[in-house]
């Protein structure tokens, strides 16, 4: 009785998608551009290396945000909270409890993901603007806790003297060593996002992004996958927060303020939301560009806002979308 519907299918006729050399180039171009910027910083060292290093840390944070906002089409203004948990976790455990960096980072990660679970479970039932407001509140609350819980976080003073990451006894304290380590971290993050994107999990995210009703009708547990996406984003946020405190050696509430949220949104949209390379190229461009206009420093936030608006008008799919436009696909 249980005949499988597959028997009604005709013989498989696989039509592989053709990939032109031009398309390969269009895909590689943003990566090559990013590699050029990082390569320059590696060679020059000094201040450019510091700027690019921060950009790479942001690239990881924004990649996580991209899983939730790009792949899953949800909105969160509160991811800074999870970066704060990771950052403070690493800073407190290494300076006050003499943990080494790796277990401290993992503990911070576990705490951030646990917090995301506790926060996400009730709030992800909210939709659209309500979810945005709830997540904005989470970011502000985390910032407030970092300021007020002085016995642990030292308030505005911040925690200094966080040791750099060391691997097999070798401290990654030089510009170039730090930059190399961060590059490896960014590549690993991008690799993870790329694999998630092209998997059953990524398709479930894309399904609920496209239509929650249709996704549920196909058996996708929308609430579960939304939460999973939120946890992944929180995990990458925490990872980037931990990297930040080890690279800078210092953490204060200011690091995880609303400015961080604005900056990361700019990077995501400038780079290209929903793409793998977008967060990386966006983080690099948004970090490096202001340095070329140092005289405008007071108007930095204004410039970000203007850049965001101009990009939304002229390149709605971000810089990654512009690169993709190089690829002129033949119509069948």
């Amino acid at each position: 009785m249980n005949s499988s519907p597959s028997t009604i299918l005709p013989k498989a006729v696989s039509v592989p998608a053709r990939v032109s050399p031009r398309r390969h180039l269009a895909q590689a171009a943003p990566w090559l551009a990013a590699a050029a910027v990082v390569g320059y910083a590696l060679v020059v060292g000094g201040y450019p290396a510091t700027v690019v290093g921060f950009a790479l840390i942001y690239a990881i944070f924004v990649s996580g945000l991209n899983i939730f906002m790009g792949l899953t089409a949800q909105v969160s203004f509160g991811q800074s909270a999870f970066a704060a948990i990771g950052g403070y976790g690493s800073a407190i455990l290494t300076t006050q409890y003499d943990w080494t960096w790796a277990p401290a980072m993992l503990a911070g990660l576990a705490a951030a993901v646990a917090a995301a679970f506790v926060i996400g479970y009730p709030t992800l039932r909210l939709k659209g603007h309500y979810l945005s407001m709830a997540t904005l509140a989470i970011g502000l609350i985390a910032h407030e806790i970092a300021v007020q819980w002085e016995s642990v976080t030292l308030g505005y003073l911040g925690i200094s003297g966080v040791p750099p990451i060391d691997i097999a006894g070798f401290e990654l304290s030089s510009d170039r060593a730090t930059l190399t380590m961060l590059t490896v971290c960014v590549l690993a993050t991008a690799f993870a996002v790329a694999r998630i994107r092209r998997s059953r999990l990524g398709r479930a995210f894309a399904g609920l992004a496209g239509s929650e009703d249709a996704a549920r009708a196909l058996g996708i547990d929308v609430a579960r996958y939304k939460l999973l996406s939120f946890l992944l984003a929180a995990g990458f946020a925490s990872f980037s927060g931990s990297l930040f405190v080890h690279v800078v050696g210092y953490v204060s509430p200011e690091v995880f303020s609303l400015h961080m949220v604005i900056l990361s949104f700019t990077m995501l949209y400038v780079g290209g939301i929903g793409t793998v390379v977008g967060p990386v190229i966006g983080a690099l461009v948004v970090s490096v560009l202001p340095e070329t206009f140092r005289a405008l420093r007071d108007y930095q936030d204004l410039a970000y806002g203007a850049a965001l608006i101009l990009l939304l008008i002229f390149a709605p799919r971000g810089l990654a979308g512009l690169f993709a436009a190089l690829d002129t696909r033949r119509k069948p």
């Binding site: 009785m1 519907p5 597959s6 249709a214 009708a217």
Partner: protein
């Protein structure tokens, strides 16, 4: 046919749904037999889509029960019903517009595939094989509905008729036990509509029960084994297509 085959695939018992003072669906009962095509017809605003939503779980009934393969599934959410093999399409097509046609169908394979975060990151051999099978299966299903040529186009670029057919292919990817189609022929040209009629018969003959809402009487008369007629939320007739065509109550509802 064994006795089991006669057992209803879907049984709707006194399904009722009120919206304030309006009774959109009023104590409707009917059964869908395995391997059969059942059509729900009725004038616009008769409550057909509301009835569909009650069955699929998009709405919960004010009273009444929905039994799927003998199990009371009245209170289950859509994804739980889908997991049992009750898969629907939508009157207003709901595709994933950013994805290509073939990716849309691959999303439909969700229930028939396995793997979460670890499978995605580590991509073990079984996951790679499953991905390849999913891709092949999706392309075969597109071929089946006549969309092979548009497999790699974004769903948003498809015509209305193509989008409808894509939604059917996506639903088939979930290997339903009961396939519910909400006006699948709306917006289809004559060719596409004829192809759809053949496809629906094939799906049913192969063992998947089909329940459809349809305005295209030609399609209904060509494919349905059983027709349920609703008007003002009530079932006014049920029977074989030939009988329904001559039923005075049905003629009155449509003409009067």
């Amino acid at each position: 046919m064994s006795a089991q085959a006669q057992k209803a695939c879907l049984e709707v018992q006194d399904a009722t749904r009120r919206f304030g003072g309006l009774v959109a669906v009023n104590a409707v009962s009917f059964q869908v037999k395995p391997r059969s095509v059942t059509a729900v017809i009725g004038p616009n605003g008769a409550g057909k889509t509301t009835l569909f939503n009650l069955i699929s779980g998009a709405l919960s009934p004010s009273s009444g029960r929905v039994l799927f393969e003998g199990v009371d599934v009245t209170a289950e959410p859509p994804e739980a019903k889908a997991a049992r093999g009750l898969i629907r399409t939508f009157q207003l097509v709901k595709l994933f517009p950013e994805l290509s046609a073939v990716e849309n169908v691959k999303v439909g394979c969700h229930l028939r595939t396995r793997g979460g975060l670890l499978a995605a990151l580590l991509r073990p051999r079984w996951a790679r094989r499953m991905e390849a099978e999913t891709e092949e299966r999706a392309r075969v299903l597109l071929e089946l509905v006549g969309l092979a040529a548009t497999a790699d186009q974004p769903a948003a670029a498809l015509s209305y008729g193509q989008a409808r057919l894509l939604e059917v292919a996506r639903a088939l990817a979930a290997q339903p036990r009961l396939l519910m189609l909400d006006e699948p022929a709306a917006g289809l040209n004559a060719d596409e509509s004829a192809r759809l009629a053949t496809l629906i018969r094939r799906i049913a003959d192969d063992g998947t029960a089909v329940l459809l809402i349809e305005h295209d009487m030609h399609l209904v008369m060509n494919t349905a084994d059983e027709v349920v007629v609703v008007d003002f939320g009530k079932k006014i007739a049920q029977g074989a297509p030939d009988r329904i065509r001559q039923d005075p109550a049905v003629i009155a509802a449509y003409l009067g």
